[in-house]
Amino acid sequence: MANSIVVNNLCVKRDGNPIILDLSFEIRKGSIAGILGPSGSGKTTIFRAIVGVQEITSGKITVLGKPAGSKDLRNRIGYLTQSASIYADLTVSENLRYFSKILGTSEISVDEIIDLVDLGKNIKQLASTLSGGERARLALATALLGKPDVIILDEPTVGLDPLLRIELWKVFRLLGEQGKTLLLSSHSMDEADLCDSLVLLREGKILAQGSPAQLKSETGETQMESVFISLVKKP
C-alpha cells in the first residue's frame, strides 16, 4: 500500500453552500504533503473529512486502506485542529496525561513528546496561561502522542517564531523518515518548498498538484508565491 490517504471526487456542502468541489488527490506513505491555499479555501473542511468528523456530500476517502472515520483508525491518526483543542483549565502535563491515557500510551512516551515540543519548563502551568506559541506546541504534542501513522496538522506553524519553526520542520522530517505520513496545511507559501508534494487549493477546487519542483517548472516561476499567482491568473 503505497498511499496512506486517497481522496476520490470529494464534495462537501456546509449550510447548503458547496465548499469542496470534486476533489481528488493521493498522499504517499512516508511523505510530507501540504495543502496550501488562502484562508477560506477549504483546508480545514478537507482535514475534518479525512479524520471523519465532517459529513461529506459525495466522494470517497480512504485512510490506511480503510474508509475515513473507521473505528480501526482511531489510534492511528493524529490530528492537530486549527484552534487548539486542549483543556485550558488543566496543566500541560494533565492535558498530555489525559490524552495519553485515552490512547493507551506509556508515561515515557509523554515525556518524550514534552521534550520534542520543548515544553519541559511549562509542565505545571495551566494551559490557559500559556503563550500562543506554547499553546500551539501543546496541541501539537497531543496530536503526536501514541506515534500515529498518519499525522494531520492544520496550520501547525502559525504564530511560531522562526527558530521554533525550523525545529518543528526537523521533527516533521524525522517523522517522515520513520515512515509516518504527514499532511499539513498552511496559508503561507514559504513552507511549500519543504513539502514533498503539494495540493494548491482555491475556493474548494484544486489549482494544481505535484512536487514543488514540478509546479515551478510547469509555471516557469522560481518562487512558490509566484507559482500560485500565475496559476490563479491562468485562464
Partner: protein, 242 residues
C-alpha cells in the same frame, strides 16, 4: 468498554474542578448558607423547616450538577475537545460514564458535608439513616447530571445552557410536591408530576427524612430516568457534523 479510559476521564473532570476552587466552595457553601437561612425563616415553625429543608437537601445536588454538567459539556463541544476525543479510541459511553463517576464523587462529598451540618448544628432530624440519605443525594446528583448533559446538546452558548435551569428544573420543582403536596394540586398537574424525575427525588428524600418506607420504589424510578437520560445524552453526542 475500557475502565481505564473511564477513570482517566473522571480524573480529568475532577482535576478541572480542583483548579476551580471557587466553584467547589460554592458547591458546598451555598447549600449550607441556604439551609441556615431556612432555619431562621422558619424559626417559629420547626415542622415546616423539617419538611422544606429536608426535601431541599435532595434537590441541591441535582441543581448543582445540572448546572455544572450543562456548562462543562457545552464547553467541550464549543472548544472542540469533545470532537477531538471522539476521534480517539474513547467511546461516547465511556465519556459519559467518566463524567458520571466524577460528579458522583463530587456529589458524595457535597452530600456528606451538607447533610452532616444540617443534622448537626442546624438540628435537622433525619429519621432514616444518613447513609441512605447520602445514597439518595448521589442518585439525585446523577439525575441532575444526566439532565444537564441532555439539555446541553440543545444549547449553542453558555448563556443558553444556564437558562435551561429555570426552564427545565424550576417547573419540575414547583410540581414536585415540595411546596404543595401533590395530592392537593389540580388533577392534571398531579398527573404531569408523575412523569417528572424531580418528583421522585423529592419524594425519596422526604421519605428517608421522615423515616417512612417505600423510598425503594422512588429510587428505582430515579434509576430508570437516569439510564434513559444518559442514553439520550450519549445519543446527543455526535461524532460527525455538517
Amino acid at each position: 468498554m475500557n475502565i481505564s479510559r473511564i477513570w482517566a476521564t473522571a480524573r480529568r473532570v475532577l482535576s478541572q474542578l480542583r483548579h476551580d476552587p471557587r466553584t467547589i466552595a460554592l458547591m458546598i457553601v451555598a447549600p449550607i448558607f441556604l439551609m441556615t437561612i431556612l432555619k431562621y425563616v422558619y424559626f417559629n415553625q420547626p415542622q415546616t423547616f423539617q419538611r422544606v429543608a429536608g426535601s431541599l437537601l435532595g434537590v441541591f445536588p441535582m441543581l448543582v450538577m445540572f448546572l455544572i454538567t450543562s456548562v462543562a459539556t457545552l464547553r467541550e463541544r464549543t472548544t472542540g475537545t469533545l470532537e477531538r476525543l471522539l476521534i480517539l479510541p474513547l467511546t461516547k459511553l465511556e465519556f459519559i460514564l467518566g463524567y458520571a463517576k466524577a460528579f458522583g464523587i463530587a456529589a458524595l462529598i457535597q452530600a456528606i458535608i451538607v447533610s452532616s451540618i444540617a443534622m448537626g448544628p442546624l438540628g435537622l432530624k433525619i429519621a432514616g439513616s444518613q447513609f441512605v440519605f447520602i445514597l439518595v443525594a448521589i442518585l439525585d446528583a446523577l439525575l441532575g447530571m444526566a439532565l444537564g448533559l441532555f439539555v446541553s446538546s440543545f444549547a449553542k452558548t453558555e448563556f443558553q445552557a444556564v437558562q435551561f435551569m429555570p426552564a427545565i428544573l424550576l417547573p419540575q420543582l414547583l410540581l414536585s410536591g415540595l411546596l404543595v403536596p401533590r395530592a392537593s394540586m389540580p388533577r392534571l398537574l398531579e398527573i404531569i408530576s408523575n412523569f417528572l424525575p424531580l418528583t421522585y427525588a423529592v419524594d425519596a428524600t422526604r421519605k428517608v427524612i421522615s423515616g417512612g418506607e417505600g423510598f425503594g420504589q422512588d429510587l428505582f424510578l430515579i434509576a430508570i430516568f437516569l439510564v434513559a437520560l444518559l442514553g439520550f445524552g450519549a445519543a446527543s453526542l455526535k461524532r460527525k457534523t455538517k
